[in-house]
């Protein structure tokens, strides 16, 4: 049984695209990254999995159960942290955590206490008085206190200070070692790279890559930097070109022989050919669909 299986999952808002034919499998116990630019459909995917919205096509299962027919069972084993958690104003943190536990018909007070201590969350405060980061902590405790088998996190670290981020990921790593599957939607590449084993990238509602983080980071593209005069007009496979009168800097993913020929025909004073850094690779996925990487 897989943790998450999506088969050609689609969601349209009227004519507007949410996600298109998304097929994706997350294995049990995986720490899975889910990346994409704003508006790519990350949140739509998550909201569909959680049954907040109904898919227009395709199907999905969470821990073997169909998300539409067994929504309640799916939600009972899932913990969800929204990107912007909103709570009932007027309630104290402790009351809210209790409400969340009661809605799950569970007593989570001990686990809640442990989590609040670790995240340094004052449970006597009123939720509307909390800063964005502290509200996030309340969301984290709500998502974790019932010890779910699957955690779905939508941009979890926004608003958390670096120390808290470290503590948060430490908790996630512990849970993951205990067998909890983690589905992490994030913009922060370093977060994904440090924690996730596999990751998927979506863009404009479609999946453009899904592989181990290691493979995703690897690429045949090179960052080429040249001092001198060279004519690049006939060279295919150039991206992100920055050119001045006597220098050029670009990402190259074409035939290396042709690159050397072209460079050889020019007058070059200095050259460096290097691996592009990770940010560049992901930017390239975001911008162009990432087919050639």
């Amino acid at each position: 049984m897989e943790a998450i299986e999506m088969e050609r999952l689609s969601k349209y808002y009227g004519r507007n695209r949410g996600i298109v034919d998304l097929s994706l499998t997350v294995h049990r116990g995986e720490f899975f990254g889910f990346m994409g630019p704003n508006g790519a459909g990350k949140s739509t995917t998550i909201r569909t999995l959680l049954g907040l919205i109904k898919p227009s096509g395709g199907e999905a299962r969470v821990l073997g159960r169909d998300i539409q027919r067994h929504r309640k069972q799916v939600l009972s084993v899932t913990g969800y942290l929204p990107s912007e958690a909103v709570f009932y104003s007027g309630m104290r943190v402790r009351e809210l955590l209790k409400l969340s536990a009661r809605l799950r018909q569970a007593d989570c007070s001990r686990e809640a206490q442990v989590l609040c201590d670790r995240l340094q969350l004052d449970t006597s405060r009123r939720v509307e008085e909390l800063s964005f980061g502290n509200r996030k902590k309340v969301g984290i405790v709500c998502a974790l206190q019932h010890r779910p088998k699957l955690l779905i996190l939508d941009e979890p670290t926004s608003g958390l200070d670096p120390l808290m981020q470290r503590e948060f990921f430490a908790i996630l790593q512990e849970r993951n070692r205990e067998g909890v599957t983690i589905f992490l939607s994030s913009h922060v590449l370093s977060e994904i790279q440090r924690n996730c084993t596999r990751a998927a990238i979506i863009r404009e509602g479609r999946m453009i890559a899904c592989d181990s983080v290691e493979n995703l980071s690897r690429t045949s593209a090179k960052r080429v930097s040249v001092q001198g005069e060279v004519c690049l007009r006939n060279l295919e496979g150039i991206r992100d070109l920055r050119e001045t009168k006597d220098s050029a800097n670009f990402l190259y993913s074409g035939d290396l022989g042709k690159l050397l020929q072209t460079l050889g025909a020019g007058r070059i004073r200095d050259i460096s050919i290097a691996e592009p850094d990770l940010e560049e690779i992901f930017l390239h996925y975001y911008e162009e669909g990432g087919v050639e990487a």
């Binding site: 909201r47 959680l50 049954g51 907040l52 919205i53 109904k54 929504r71 309640k72 069972q73 939600l75 009972s76 899932t78 969800y80 929204p82 912007e84 958690a85 909103v86 709570f87 009932y88 104003s89 007027g90 309630m91 409400l99 969340s100 009661r102 809605l103 799950r104 709500c142």
Partner: protein, 261 residues
């Protein structure tokens, strides 16, 4: 129970204010009665000679000189309108507020059936309405005892029952509307209550428009009719409860299938 209790803790302040306000005005009116009783003959003549206005409020058929007649008009206006507003506001707000305030995501990502959410919220609305009516009834009984008047339990009870049913019907209809709303429906709720109230005034004035009494819940809450007949118009009440049932049914249907933004 969880959600009913939660709704109560969220809404008890507003409930308390409405109950206190309605109760306060009814008690004041009742306490004023002994003073006005003596002057009522002139008032009766005046009120019964204002033409359409008289008919609109049923004052041509009520005797202001008796507590019963006086109370029928006062209660009809204060508890009738006040309670209707409370019920309409509560009904339109209860489902819509989760989406308006962004808490729907929190609530519905817990393992709860949407139909359970609707049921709990419906209970929360109906219990608050019941509690408001019982409280106001008790305050009223006490104030009448205080001025030493005798209570005609039958017409008194029927008047209050009618007001309660009006509120149940309005809440049911507004509950149905609430399931479709993503923003505040306060204006809409008040609009529904006010227009139905005016429909009844029109029905009172014009004989041709009398069929409107079957549409508006205020039709069966007309103090003059209740006291004259000594009973509620069962047909109108059943039809009204039917409207409430339809509203509630629509709420279940829509809320269980809609996407949460």
């Amino acid at each position: 129970m969880t959600l009913i209790r939660h709704e109560w803790s969220q809404g008890w302040k507003s409930f308390a204010i409405w109950t206190a306000a309605i109760g306060f005005f009814i008690v004041i009116c009742v306490l004023m009665f002994p003073e006005m009783e003596g002057e009522m003959e002139g008032v009766n003549d005046m009120f019964s000679s204002m033409g359409a206005f008289t008919a609109a409020f049923g004052m041509d058929r009520l005797n202001f000189g008796t507590l019963e007649g006086f109370y029928a008009v006062e209660c009809g206006n204060i508890l009738g309108i006040g309670g209707a507003f409370f019920a309409a506001l509560l009904g339109t707000g209860i489902l819509a507020k989760e989406e308006r305030e962004g808490t729907a995501e929190f609530l519905l990502t817990h393992p709860v059936d949407r139909s359970w959410v609707v049921s709990q919220k419906l209970w929360a609305v109906m219990l608050q309405i019941l509690l408001l009516n019982v409280s106001v009834f008790l305050m009223s009984v006490c104030s009448i005892a205080l001025i030493g008047e005798e209570i005609s339990w039958r017409s008194f009870g029927l008047l209050h029952l009618a007001c309660f049913l009006v509120q149940v019907e309005l809440a049911g209809i507004c509950f149905g509307i609430s399931a479709f709303l993503r923003r505040s429906g306060l204006g809409l709720g008040l609009g529904v209550a006010v227009s139905l109230y005016f429909l009844n005034l029109v029905a009172n004035i014009s004989e041709q428009a009398e069929f409107l009494k079957y549409i508006t819940p205020f039709g069966y809450a007309e103090g003059a009719d209740i006291i004259a007949d000594g009973s509620l118009h069962v047909g109108m009440v059943l039809l009204g409860m039917g409207f409430a049932g339809v509203g509630i049914g629509i709420a279940y249907w829509e809320y269980c299938r809609k996407g949460i933004a």
